[in-house]
């Protein structure tokens, strides 16, 4: 989240799209309601299904799953043609005036530089025009046909109400209703916020969905301000923290890119990954990357990391360079593909249930049988721990050795957790681990200690990174948190904790396992993650900033890009909800994004993480285009969407072993979307074991419209079978007005929705919905397209996965 949970109360208009916040982030929703009750904010819910979020919104707009870019593109067009944008903000704080290379083009749905064979773009034609000093050329009148603003206008002029309506299934009246309400926030005294979740990310255009909100929030001047921002409602307990620490293939902790094969030395790594700018007003924060990388290596290998050995850089694994959409991608999709081919020998799955929660789960379940060994840490047995005797499996034919380590519950260990708003808090140990269970951190430390001993005594291949690891005797959360924060390991301050980003050095005198968390523990204040103070200044109180509660990265800043909330003189666009203000000598309010003075006093551009410091209406960073463009989901009910001849994403990550139904396949005419539940957690392996939660949501169901039910002869409560080209699934029919048929290009398209929390290890409740969904991933993130695929549905004459009779009896008596 750029902003905070509490900050939602400061908004005038809350657009919830790709999220069902009331059910999936229930406690945050009070702040949405507060905005509605206390400010009279408009709440808009755009989602395929009517839910409890819709019920509390001013209006709900159903749209066909996978058509968000068409919808948001229509809004961008509306903003530009009706001149709803915040002109001063756009001029001062965005790259609207940048001139793009004249070689850039967009034809029939594809940008210049595309290679159909490798499915990647050569982005050289997308770059900006530069003068002889390397400074980007600008036209502040915004009239040059090659300036970002004009290109944006041209691109989205194609997103007419008629086309958007025909593709999304949203009526023109409803489109206008949302566009009018939301774009009214494009003034200095109004703010609008966009809340999204997995309903946006889990598409082959997931990142570009989010880009549309970035563009809209910049045009309306809603980025960096109270009650604004682009807010990802992150979905899992410590998903923010585990992302920051990068349990991810492509990055090292603190979002340092994974070294690649073409970066054999640290010098080469720094050269290839450190951005350069020639704009004097730009901070270009990532220029400090070499300091963070060296400090990471020092933290990682301790005394063994020396200047002479490149701080141990050569010991790190290197990924291949991406020469096609799949090369150098080591994400779960490619991992399971490789496993299915028998090319992976062993590995670990910790507190994760892929047999339930990875798409095309039949493939995953089968792939695990190819492993020689698997080691798992879990609180409960689930579909993954017990895959070897699951449905259709014959244990006598499955070679995989499984080591199942009992993992303790959160209440039985201590440590820190980072919330969606980047606020880190401490959880204390309440009781000893039950039985023989242990903390996952402790388990990992024990395994590594054994491995280190083996390599020390026996030697082995490339043993340096193992034997030179700056390792631990036992899991001590506070000691590790200090190593994450970082220390001075040389120089005058040797032994002192780092106090913030300014302390980092690239010469090996500082060591930190995650630069982003620097300042979270200091010698002066102690462990700031443990703070529970509620003290605020009057200004902080007004907008709901609690700087003494926990600690928020970066540098305890609550609202990212907050220097965009003020004018050139450092005065808030809207004084009634100021988050920072220049008092003539210093900033007050939130911790500013860099302590530079206001722009009029020689300050710096507000978007400090971008090389040029200005919000990117046009961006060259993504792999699938500088502007979001509508493409259909990989499986789609139509053959032509009317925006171009390019039906689906030209760069999506397609896994060859994944079967994909052709466009408008008559065998699978119905759109399936999937979602979570309030009462169950993700794959459900923990919550299904709680009687009260299972009683509230007892069985796998499928929500469908009355119209579809009538067409298929299905009654509410009937057992049904769903089929995609990949698998089948049993569910109970829930016939409801919450889902309505869509009118797409004049024809009726039906959509059904299913939760995915039910699995076979709890008998009778149903089995993985993800047997239906497909692997295909977003080209930037490789996030699979869970939210849209094509299925068919029929009434079942016999069910095996559901204890159907029992439910009937209960209903009868109930």
């Amino acid at each position: 989240m750029t902003n905070s949970w509490i900050d939602i109360k400061n908004t005038d208009c809350c657009l919830i799209i790709g999220s069902n916040a009331a059910e999936h982030h229930p406690i945050c929703f009070k702040w949405v309601l507060k905005a509605k009750e206390e400010r009279g904010a408009q709440i808009i819910h755009v989602d395929p299904k009517f839910s409890r979020t819709s019920a509390r919104s001013d209006f709900h707009v159903p749209l066909r799953s996978g058509t968000d870019i068409a919808f948001m593109g229509g809004m961008i067009n509306y903003i530009l043609t009706k001149e709803k944008y915040f002109k001063e903000y756009v001029n001062e704080y965005t790259n609207a005036s940048f001139l793009v290379n004249p070689g850039f083009s967009f034809n029939n749905g594809v940008f210049s530089g595309y290679n159909a064979k490798t499915r990647i773009y050569d982005k050289s034609s997308w770059q900006f025009q530069k003068d002889e000093k390397g400074v980007i050329k600008r036209d502040t009148s915004l009239k040059n046909p090659n300036c970002v603003f004009q290109l944006l206008k041209k691109h989205y002029s194609r997103y007419t109400l008629d086309k958007v309506s025909a593709t999304t299934g949203v009526s023109k009246d409803n489109l206008l209703r949302v566009f009018e309400a939301y774009t009214a926030t494009g003034t200095r005294d109004k703010a609008g916020t966009i809340l999204y979740a997995l309903g946006w990310t889990q598409h082959t255009v997931g990142v570009q969905n989010i880009r549309t909100s970035g563009i809209i929030q910049l045009l309306l001047g809603n980025t960096g301000v109270a009650g604004g921002g682009v807010n990802a409602l992150r979905g899992e307990p410590n998903v923010q923290g585990t992302t920051d620490h990068c349990i991810l293939y492509n990055v090292l902790p603190g979002y340092l890119p994974l070294p690649r094969a073409n970066m054999p030395t640290l010098e080469e790594y720094n050269k290839k990954t450190t951005p350069v700018t020639h704009i004097p007003e730009s901070v270009n924060w990532w220029q400090h990357r070499p300091k963070y990388m060296t400090s990471y290596l020092k933290g990682y290998f301790g005394k063994y990391a020396t200047k002479e050995n490149d701080f141990g850089y050569s010991w790190l694994p290197k990924g291949d360079v991406a020469k096609s959409e799949r090369e150098g991608d080591y994400s779960c999709l490619y991992c399971y593909e490789k496993m299915a081919k028998g090319e992976i020998k062993g590995g670990s799955i910790w507190a994760h249930n892929p047999c339930q929660s990875i798409p095309n789960s039949n493939n995953v379940r089968q792939a695990l049988t190819n492993l020689d060994f698997l080691y798992i840490a879990e609180v409960h047995q689930n579909e993954t721990t017990d895959f070897w005797h699951g449905p259709g499996m014959d244990p006598k034919k499955i070679k995989t050795e499984v080591f199942l380590f009992p993992s303790c519950h959160r209440l039985e260990k201590e440590g820190s957790i980072s919330s969606s708003q980047r606020m880190i808090g401490w959880h204390y140990q309440a009781a000893k681990p039950k039985g023989k269970s242990k903390a996952m951190g402790q388990i990992m430390i024990e395994i590594m200690n054994e491995l280190i001993d083996l390599y020390k005594s026996e030697g082995g291949v490339h043993k340096e990174p193992i034997v030179n690891l700056n390792w631990y005797k036992k899991y001590d959360a506070e000691a590790i948190a200090k190593r994450i924060n970082g220390y001075h390991v040389g120089g005058e301050k040797k032994g002192k904790l780092l106090t913030g980003f300014g302390d980092f050095a690239a010469d090996g005198t500082t060591a930190a396992l995650n630069w982003l968390y620097a300042g979270s523990i200091t010698d002066e204040d102690g462990n700031r993650l443990k703070r529970t103070g509620l003290a605020q200044t009057p200004m902080q109180k007004k907008v709901g900033i609690f700087p003494n509660y926990g600690w928020t990265w970066p540098m305890n800043r609550w609202i990212l890009y907050n220097r965009a909330s003020v004018d050139k003189n450092g005065q808030p666009w809207d004084p009634s909800r100021a988050i920072i203000r220049w008092d003539g000598a210093k900033w007050e309010g939130d911790v500013p994004d860099g302590g530079y003075p206001p722009m009029a006093k020689g300050g710096k551009n507000p978007f400090i993480m971008l090389p040029d410091g200005l919000g990117q209406l046009y961006g060259t960073g993504l792999v699938d285009g500088p502007f979001p463009e509508h493409y259909e989901p990989t499986e789609t009910p139509i053959t032509n969407h009317g925006f171009s001849g390019q039906l689906t994403s030209p760069c999506s990550k397609i896994i060859p072993t994944d079967k994909i139904a052709p466009p408008a396949d008559p065998r699978y005419p119905i759109v399936l979307t999937t979602y979570s539940l309030t009462e169950h957690w993700c794959g459900g392996s923990e919550t299904r074991m709680v009687p009260s939660l299972l009683e509230a949501e007892p069985q796998l169901y499928v929500e469908m419209s009355h119209e579809l039910a009538k067409e298929k002869g299905i009654k509410n409560g009937d057992p049904v079978i769903l089929e995609s080209i990949r698998g089948r699934c049993e569910a109970v029919a829930m016939v409801t007005v919450r889902i309505v048929p869509f009118k797409i290009q004049g024809k009726t398209v039906h959509l059904v929705g299913m939760p995915f929390a039910f699995g076979w290890t709890k008998p009778g409740i149903g089995d993985a919905t993800n047997r239906l969904t497909l692997y295909t991933g977003d080209p930037n993130t490789s996030i699979p397209e869970y939210k849209a695929c094509q299925v068919n549905i029929r009434k079942a004459d016999k069910v095996t996965e559901l204890s159907y009779e029992e439910i009937k009896v209960e209903e009868h008596h109930g």
């Binding site: 039950k434 951190g441 990992m444």
Partner: protein, 188 residues
């Protein structure tokens, strides 16, 4: 202002008592004596964070005799202000669930059952397996002859359930082995 649970109950009891129970001749002392018998009486309060969505609601666990006896929302957390959703409200059942895995379990190749094993047996045998696989299949150079020093035959699918410190430890271990196939729920 710090309000103890007992004072809070007193105030609540007094208000309710005056209106509803006062007429029946019942004083707030009833409430107070009820509070004395609550299972959390004398329990230690320990603060934790809900392990579900990333609103990260705080809760207080009441611990008696080394056992969690009750959990409730922490009113001091300015975001949740003491509220919990359906899942968060069941924390006590979750930590005390008798379905939990409590012993190291091992499934041998082609076996139809789990076997209980000691921690040391598990760790020793697993570490041997990792080393054997790594030493046999480590990739020093890629197809183009560039040095890559990676282990492509092993993977890690990790967890957003971990604390930051656990995540940090796991990432260090996996990269030290040379693992590149590493991912977690952030992608799903």
């Amino acid at each position: 202002m710090k309000v103890t649970r007992r004072e809070l109950l007193k105030v609540a009891g007094a208000g309710a008592g005056a209106l509803a129970l006062g007429g029946l001749g019942v004083s707030y002392l009833v409430t107070e004596s009820y509070a004395k018998d609550l299972k959390i009486k004398g329990a230690k309060e320990v603060r934790s964070i809900c392990p579900f969505c990333a609103v990260s609601c705080r809760f207080i666990a009441h611990v008696k005799g080394g056992k969690v006896v009750s959990t409730e929302g922490d009113p001091g957390y300015p975001i949740s202000e003491g509220a919990l959703c359906a899942k968060g409200a069941t924390m006590n059942s979750m930590v005390n669930s008798d379905h939990r895995v409590l012993k190291p379990l091992y499934r041998a190749p082609y076996s139809e059952k789990w076997e209980e094993k000691s921690w040391s047996w598990m760790i020793e045998n697993l570490a041997k397996k990792i080393k054997e696989t790594r030493d046999k299949t480590f990739t020093v150079k890629n197809a183009e002859g560039q040095v890559v020093n990676r282990l492509e035959t092993m993977f890690h699918m990790g967890s957003s359930q971990m604390s930051n410190e656990e995540a940090s430890v796991v990432v260090q271990a996996m990269r030290a082995m040379g693992i590149v196939y590493m991912d977690h729920q952030a992608r799903i």
